[in-house]
Symmetry: D2
Subunit: 348 residues, 4 copies
Amino acid sequence: MKRVGLVGVTGYTGMELTRILLGHPGLRLTKVTSRKEAGQPLQKIYPFLQGTKLGDLEITAPDCTVLAAECDLVFLAVPHCTAMEMAAELRGLGTRVVDLSADFRLRDHAVYESWYQVPHTQSALLAEAVYGLPELYAERIAGAGLVANPGCYPTSAILALYPALAAGLISPEDLVVDSKSGTTGAGRKAGVGTLFCEVSDTFRAYNLTKHRHTPEIEQELGVAVGREIRLSFNTHLLPINRGILTTAYAKLSPGADLEQIRACYQEFYAGKRWVRLLPQGTLPETRWVRGTNFCDLGLVTDPRTDRLIVVSAIDNLCRGASGQAVANANLMLGLEEGAGLPFAPLMP
Amino acid sequence: MKRVGLVGVTGYTGMELTRILLGHPGLRLTKVTSRKEAGQPLQKIYPFLQGTKLGDLEITAPDCTVLAAECDLVFLAVPHCTAMEMAAELRGLGTRVVDLSADFRLRDHAVYESWYQVPHTQSALLAEAVYGLPELYAERIAGAGLVANPGCYPTSAILALYPALAAGLISPEDLVVDSKSGTTGAGRKAGVGTLFCEVSDTFRAYNLTKHRHTPEIEQELGVAVGREIRLSFNTHLLPINRGILTTAYAKLSPGADLEQIRACYQEFYAGKRWVRLLPQGTLPETRWVRGTNFCDLGLVTDPRTDRLIVVSAIDNLCRGASGQAVANANLMLGLEEGAGLPFAPLMP
Amino acid sequence: MKRVGLVGVTGYTGMELTRILLGHPGLRLTKVTSRKEAGQPLQKIYPFLQGTKLGDLEITAPDCTVLAAECDLVFLAVPHCTAMEMAAELRGLGTRVVDLSADFRLRDHAVYESWYQVPHTQSALLAEAVYGLPELYAERIAGAGLVANPGCYPTSAILALYPALAAGLISPEDLVVDSKSGTTGAGRKAGVGTLFCEVSDTFRAYNLTKHRHTPEIEQELGVAVGREIRLSFNTHLLPINRGILTTAYAKLSPGADLEQIRACYQEFYAGKRWVRLLPQGTLPETRWVRGTNFCDLGLVTDPRTDRLIVVSAIDNLCRGASGQAVANANLMLGLEEGAGLPFAPLMP
Amino acid sequence: MKRVGLVGVTGYTGMELTRILLGHPGLRLTKVTSRKEAGQPLQKIYPFLQGTKLGDLEITAPDCTVLAAECDLVFLAVPHCTAMEMAAELRGLGTRVVDLSADFRLRDHAVYESWYQVPHTQSALLAEAVYGLPELYAERIAGAGLVANPGCYPTSAILALYPALAAGLISPEDLVVDSKSGTTGAGRKAGVGTLFCEVSDTFRAYNLTKHRHTPEIEQELGVAVGREIRLSFNTHLLPINRGILTTAYAKLSPGADLEQIRACYQEFYAGKRWVRLLPQGTLPETRWVRGTNFCDLGLVTDPRTDRLIVVSAIDNLCRGASGQAVANANLMLGLEEGAGLPFAPLMP
């Protein structure tokens, strides 16, 4: 059993990490931290852990020296900027880190600073950081000291468009990515805007043209085509807890047809068990991936408008955050990529 | 047109008062106040009022002298204690008041102080205050200077049990009132416990045996039987915005049967258009009263256990707060009780 | 008071018509029909109408001769094909008709037959039918004998894009319309796919590239630009009862900027009280129009990708069906366009 | 690995059994049946099983001879009456059976026939059947050929009240059990009453005094006190997918206090890992048991009315049906009771 630590247990990604690690056959959660809840057993703040092996685990204040001494790997589930400093300290102590924040996802610190409007104080680490999308970078992740766990929206968008872009079957111009996310994506901070009565029974767009996940998507899809690209990425808030559904629109390259595109995706994701290309005519639903690491894809072409539409569905907390973090930790620690990750969604 | 003021426009009861008053043929909302949002037009904080006659109304800081000068009646939609002081000041200026808080609902200030754990600084006003349940006190409300608008749960519980208790058809012992409320009942304060992701897709009990609405229910049902009573009142949180459903359990008096009880309710509520006794075999649903002032009642007897079960449904924001407040204001200002109150629920 | 009839009272659009007509000052609902529920009072199938003036109205079997004799205007809230035949019969009897089905929306019967895969048996009536979008055709609606009430999605899409297209501020090529609808849009037929447990807590796309509302949108936006256009229109199912939010993506014409576009929309919709251009920076939410006839619009430009994004929100049952039908009836019968239509959304 | 069969895979309990068995270390699902879907791979009807080891399992028509030959144990997830006949046939072939229907839960066939209004054609088997509540009957379950899997509501009610009744700490008179269930409890049949738009954003009581689970609760709690009892059991429909919360009201026996009662429950459930007595002051929430076999209990006493209130929460599909069925199968086949059952609820 490898020992792992979790910094920031009180948010939704921290909660999801405890859920996954509770059943993990190869990782043991030995340290959980929260400045605010230090001193309490985990089951005090999470009564649903009573009667499980994690129930009595004591929450401690975060201390990198202790984490480095007692953990083979540390998950950082804290806000950006805070993550940056802790990652640097932990790396200095030789500890491997999976950072769930945005701090090391963008290879160019200037792009980070422009979208996040804060200085990047640890840009030297950017060269070392590996973008933790296993379908693209499994080998590099395995050898990484610092993995930048992808954002939830980017995971859904990149997996949706990468194969077709890399194969030249669609144009990198005029991409429109219309995403819809469950409300856990907004985090667990008190606020009027995410009260039950402000989200239930309604639907809205937010952050149009300005979402911070935009450059992350552009960065990775730019890799697919071998040059910088720009796309229109826009987000909406769903009255559900978990799940992202992304509808991506692209212009077909001349001559490209559905059969060809399906073959391309099948080949690209061959052996990647967490990406499922659904049968023709079947479109993804967020519930089909609820609680799992799957990314489901549906492909549709529209001959009337020469477009490819890719629909992707993930669980934003699992595949879009904590499940992917565990997959990355598995790779880094020499375990099977899918170890401890549930296959069966909670249906219905 | 009578002029009315609204103190505390930013909460859910304030929001609901603006909704109702927007379509009221006899009341004109001339002043709305909020310390925090003073200086802005109403549509700035409520974009859904743009294009309506209330959109440009300016929010002001609360000032009793101004309110007294410019309003025939003032609604207080502010927390208890704050309401107490403003009610006293407004009454001193001769203004009629409908107080939506709990401050004047309990006739005995000692009971108030015991359940609310604060001193009652205006207990002299308690003698003047009329409990604003029109089915019981319409005449006194019409002449009142200060109406204590009933709590949401008490409205549902009192209307459910009063007729049978007053007629001696059920025992005042062993009453169990099991209530379930939509989340608007928890107010519009930021807090983790009422975030969408903490309320959606779940259900819980809260405040068992300790809910502050208990003495209010006991007070009014005590009036029905002519002596003090005690009952078990308990509450649950529903993942819906609006609506209270109360299931009340009572022991049948010897010989009492369903036919007799239905006749009793029919007679008691004859001419009271906002209480609807549903046909035998039909049980209330919260959506059937959504957005209205109705209280729907369903009656069932259980010969196996000698019990009467009364199910009542109200919209906690409308009948349980702002709609009832408007009905009280109508009575106080000489308008028809139901003026401005919608009959058609938003279905579905 | 004008007398109106409603054919097909048991579906959601029929239910919504009763809700609106219950409070209408100028229209009296004198006939409601349903083959299946004939002989019962309305409150038997809709207990929420008990205690209202419509509660005792008897449901009858549909009979055009009776409807023609007793109504100044008839609403058809029945499936397509059925509507076609009844509209013809009623027109033959001289009765004015608002048809909520798709049967008379497409001016070219061949387009209808291609998308709906049924013959159009009353194509002679197509020349007479007026497309019932008051912002575009108010005058013609006023004089019409047969109004084709627009589809829910088309209402949201046409109002979103028409002004910019007509003014040449965006390109009619490469339009992407990504729409999300509440589940009432799927109707009130029993089926596993729309059970609560199949829709709740999930989100999915459906009918991609094939939705029957596509040609309706293309027809009207084609009018805006003066030639045939094709666009990508795609739909998703929201776990809410009411509401459509449409996110429409268009390429900006060279030189077009946000200020210019806002001015264009302001001018185009001047005097049209049911379309609200929200302030810059504010985006529509479906709840802000819940239960009303409003269509709220938000405009955003993205200089990075030279795009205009228009977000529109309507209540699919009210503005997208029954509310718009009442507005059309108002115009046809010489009443004020907004008569009987509520201004205040049910919030929250 | 033991081989198990599942008769009736298309309902929610069948779906939940596949979810649990997918991750079970000791049971292999070798046969799944559905008359309607025979011939298809499981992933055709359940796309969320694509990419898992159950995805390609072929659905067959139910055939007891084949089931008996290929399975060590068979789960019956079919309607009552159908289950009765198949259970008899399978028992005749020597196969062990866990029946999720109501057919063998009531020891007295006359009680069954009175509540279910159908003849019991296999009453000879009733003597053999064991009521599958492991906390009460683990040893007998281990040796049983036929286990009657408890109803969802009875599981929540019996576990809530059994210890206090058995210890004489509460009176068996005047018990009131007020239960609220998620909508999966209504099954997966097409019907207007359980459409999303008829359940969402509302709440209602149903089947008051007449729910068929009543005699099942009375039977087992009668065992606790050693004589027949009658109680008031009533049910409500929650707008959530999974979860039952039961609020049970009982009169305290003279002298009984909370400390004593907590000690009684702690002792009674010592070693029963799936029943969790929450700390004093903490009340159960359905989400804390979502997807698990836990039954969480909260205890509150009310000195004002001399009552004990027990709140229990289970997942109606897991603990209330399929999870409990797997626990029973584990016991019958010599595996650890909790094998394959997830400990971590899907939170949030």
